[in-house]
């Protein structure tokens, strides 16, 4: 027994030293290329590129969002490169997995830093975004999150976002429901273990006090129990709610709709931007989603030419309809491009100098993206764009005025 252990630990030590060395080996070569001492000449003699990093979950339960952002941003990068790049400089993108975990996100960020990242598109989900924001502030590296909705995601001046913030979505939803007089009795179901969902829910309930409707039931669910929604729906039904507010993602929402149909409960369902994409779920019975309304900056069926083109290219490249995450990422890359062009940023500038220039540039640029026309940013990092309410009619999206 003792002998075996010794042999085992000896082997493990060997394996570890090997892996450590491997780590350091790759590490040193990475720092070499990014610190720009020895290999800077090499870089300039080759061809200088803009290195844009991306971070989001491509494995784990949140992989669907990270995947969409990855595809959307890759598509934009491809288009820009084909059109000649940013001021003639090509873009290179490296997209790293964070498994929707703050610690892994920081690791991904550090690995991108080793790679020599000039600017960051990310991270996709809120909690990792806050953690990365904290380190990127210290390094002064520019970050633009396509879909980090929590307030703290853009708390530092180097961080901007493409999407709406949570409180803003909750507030606008409540206002819309109140002003349009959609219902007098409203129920809310939310994911109490999720930052995005609770953020919207809280703002919604707060604003509901000022509006002409009553929140008659507020029921939660958690990440561990998100297959069965019969109880939450039953309570909403018993309370007589005419509208059920669903501030969470379409994965769970598709189950809610199915179960509501199973119990003959047909209120108005109202969601937020996470609801977008529900029609793209493979095999989903679209009849269930009829009359579903949600607030979204992006609809894949819009008549708009730019959107049409984006949707077509995306479908060709990835075989699925882009959702709001992909659209936000697509606009995010174009925003980075616009800001870089505004200040004539070149790849030989240090990431910190780029960040300082980008901060000034972001508030000056206006882009016509797929999530909004005339999209601009405030110094706080928030985008200014109008939310649209989309309603699903006969299995298709329709914009409601």
């Amino acid at each position: 027994m003792m002998k075996m252990r010794k042999a085992l630990s000896a082997m493990l030590v060997a394996a570890m030293t090997m892996s450590l060395m491997a780590g350091c080996g790759s590490g040193s070569s990475d720092t070499g290329s990014s610190s720009g001492t020895s290999s800077a000449k090499e870089e300039s003699s080759d061809e200088a590129v803009f290195k844009i990093g991306g971070i989001g979950p491509v494995t784990g339960g949140a992989a669907v969002y990270g995947e969409a952002v990855k595809n959307g941003s890759e598509l934009a990068v491809k288009e820009i490169n084909e059109a000649g790049g940013i001021n003639g400089v090509q873009i290179e993108m490296d997209y790293q997995d964070d498994e929707h975990d703050a610690e892994k996100a920081v690791n991904a960020y550090n690995s991108l830093k080793d790679w020599g990242m000039h600017a960051l598109l990310g991270t996709v989900t809120s909690a990792p975004c806050v953690a990365v924001g904290e380190v990127s502030k210290d390094d002064n590296i520019f970050m633009l999150t396509p879909s980090g909705t929590a307030v703290e995601c853009v708390q530092y001046d180097n961080a901007f976002r493409v999407c709406f913030s949570d409180p803003m979505q909750g507030l606008e939803s409540a206002k819309y429901i109140g002003e349009k007089g959609l219902a007098k009795k409203v129920a809310a179901i939310y994911d109490s273990s999720d930052v995005y969902s609770t953020g919207i829910y809280e703002a919604f309930v707060k604003e509901a006090e000022n509006q002409d409707f009553e929140v008659v039931a507020a029921e939660a669910f958690t990440a561990e129990a998100k297959t069965d929604f019969s109880v939450q729906l039953q309570k909403a039904k018993d309370a007589g709610a005419e509208l059920v507010f669903l501030p969470f993602y379409y994965t769970e929402a598709s189950l809610v709709l199915k179960q509501a149909a199973g119990m003959d409960y047909a209120p108005i369902f109202f969601g937020c931007d996470g609801m977008d994409g529900i029609l793209a779920v493979e095999g989903f019975d679209v009849d269930l989603a009829n009359n579903l309304m949600f607030m979204s900056p992006f609809t894949p069926t819009s008549e708009d030419e730019a959107i049409q083109k984006f949707v077509k290219d995306y479908e060709e490249a990835y075989g699925s309809t882009p959702n709001q995450f992909a659209a936000d990422a697509y606009d995010g890359i174009y925003a980075i491009k616009a800001a870089m062009e505004e200040k004539d940023i070149t790849p030989d500038m240090s990431p910190s100098d780029i960040c300082d220039a980008m901060k000034e540039a972001m508030v000056n640029i206006t882009i016509d993206g797929v999530t909004a026309k005339g999209l601009t940013w405030e110094a706080s990092g928030e985008p200014s764009k109008e939310p649209m309410v989309v309603k699903i009619e006969d299995g298709d999206y329709a914009v409601v005025e």
């Binding site: 491509v58 494995t59 784990g60 339960g61 992989a63 669907v64 990270g66 995947e67 109490s192 029921e219 939660a220 669910f221 958690t222 561990e224 129990a225 297959t227 069965d228 019969s230 109880v231 939450q232 039953q234 309570k235 018993d238 379409y250 994965t251 769970e252 598709s254 189950l255 199915k258 199973g262 119990m263 003959d264 793209a280 779920v281 493979e282 095999g283 989903f284 019975d285 699925s320």
Partner: protein
């Protein structure tokens, strides 16, 4: 009325847990290992059914049969490659960790093949919903199908173990591996058979789980797997009727906890009840009390 409807929903959820727990408990009873990859075999089974219907155009019944065959082969393969070399290892934990590795492997293979996007699983259960009390109560066809299949499987399994030679061999192996071997029982073969049955059950569970809750991702199996594991322990792990009782009770407690106590605390309530049950009856509801020999 809402009480009855909560009860029905609880039984519906519980019957899905029960059918997954059956597979857990079978394998545990014979191989004495917690097969953490069981939930992921369920997920694979559901994907096979979906692909067979959508891409190959098979009828639902043929697709389910295909999934059963596929999962059986997969289960035997996993057992012979990853588990069998470790069944005689000096610690029973070794095989537990390998099972976790297999679980990660299946999830990531599914992620690469089918992508992260949620797929909606169209129900393959042809049973119509039962409407009672003038439309006030509806019992979904999936619920009826799940409960019926659960009872059928339980009866067949019990008969198989009690009456057939292979079943008796399983019992013998679960009692004492060494003695069984001395009696001329092919221990490895028996364990492989157990995995085959367990995985076939997983395919059925996958179909029923995804018919009742039609959203399918590479991680669909993980949480129901853990819940079913809890259900199996609840009922007394190793006991086949225990898995049924444990599963249904777990589902009912989860729904009632959500309905009458707090929807945020559903998990805490489920696990809290489990702890209380185990402290009062340390081997689960139907578990055998094993006398310690000195």
């Amino acid at each position: 009325m809402s009480f009855i409807s909560y009860l029905i929903n609880g039984i519906s959820l519980g019957s899905v847990y029960a059918i997954i727990a059956l597979g857990y408990t079978m394998v545990y009873g014979i191989a004495k290992m917690l097969n953490f990859a069981h939930g992921d075999v369920i997920m694979i089974g559901a994907y096979v059914v979906m692909t067979a219907i959508a891409s190959a155009g098979l009828s639902p019944l043929a697709a389910v049969l295909l999934a059963i065959v596929f999962c059986t082969v997969l289960g035997v393969l996993i057992e012979s490659v990853a588990y069998r070399p470790l069944l005689n290892a000096s610690s029973s934990l070794a095989v537990l960790i390998t099972a976790i590795g297999v679980s990660y492997l299946l999830q990531n293979v599914a992620l690469l093949i089918f992508g992260a996007n949620t797929k909606s699983f169209s129900s393959v259960v042809p049973v119509p919903a039962l409407v009672l009390a003038g439309g006030k109560l509806t019992i979904a066809g999936e619920t009826i199908a799940t409960i019926i299949s659960c009872v059928i499987i339980m009866v067949v399994l019990t008969l198989f173990i009690k009456k057939s030679k292979a079943g008796q061999a399983m019992l013998a192996v679960s009692e004492d591996k060494g003695a069984a071997q001395l009696m001329g029982i092919n221990v490895n073969g028996t364990i492989a058979l157990t995995f085959a049955i367990g995985s076939a059950l997983a395919a059925v569970a996958g179909v029923l789980l995804c018919s009742a809750y039609p959203s399918l991702t590479p991680y669909t199996g993980a949480m129901p797997g853990i819940k079913a594991f809890v259900a199996a322990v609840f009922g007394g792990i190793g006991s086949i009727p225990g898995a049924l009782i444990g599963g249904i009770l777990l589902g009912v407690i989860e729904i009632f906890g959500k309905a009458y106590i707090s929807s945020q605390m559903a998990d805490a309530i489920v696990f809290g009840v489990l702890i209380i049950v185990l402290i009062v009856k340390p081997t689960g509801i139907l578990g055998k009390n094993i006398q310690e020999k000195v």
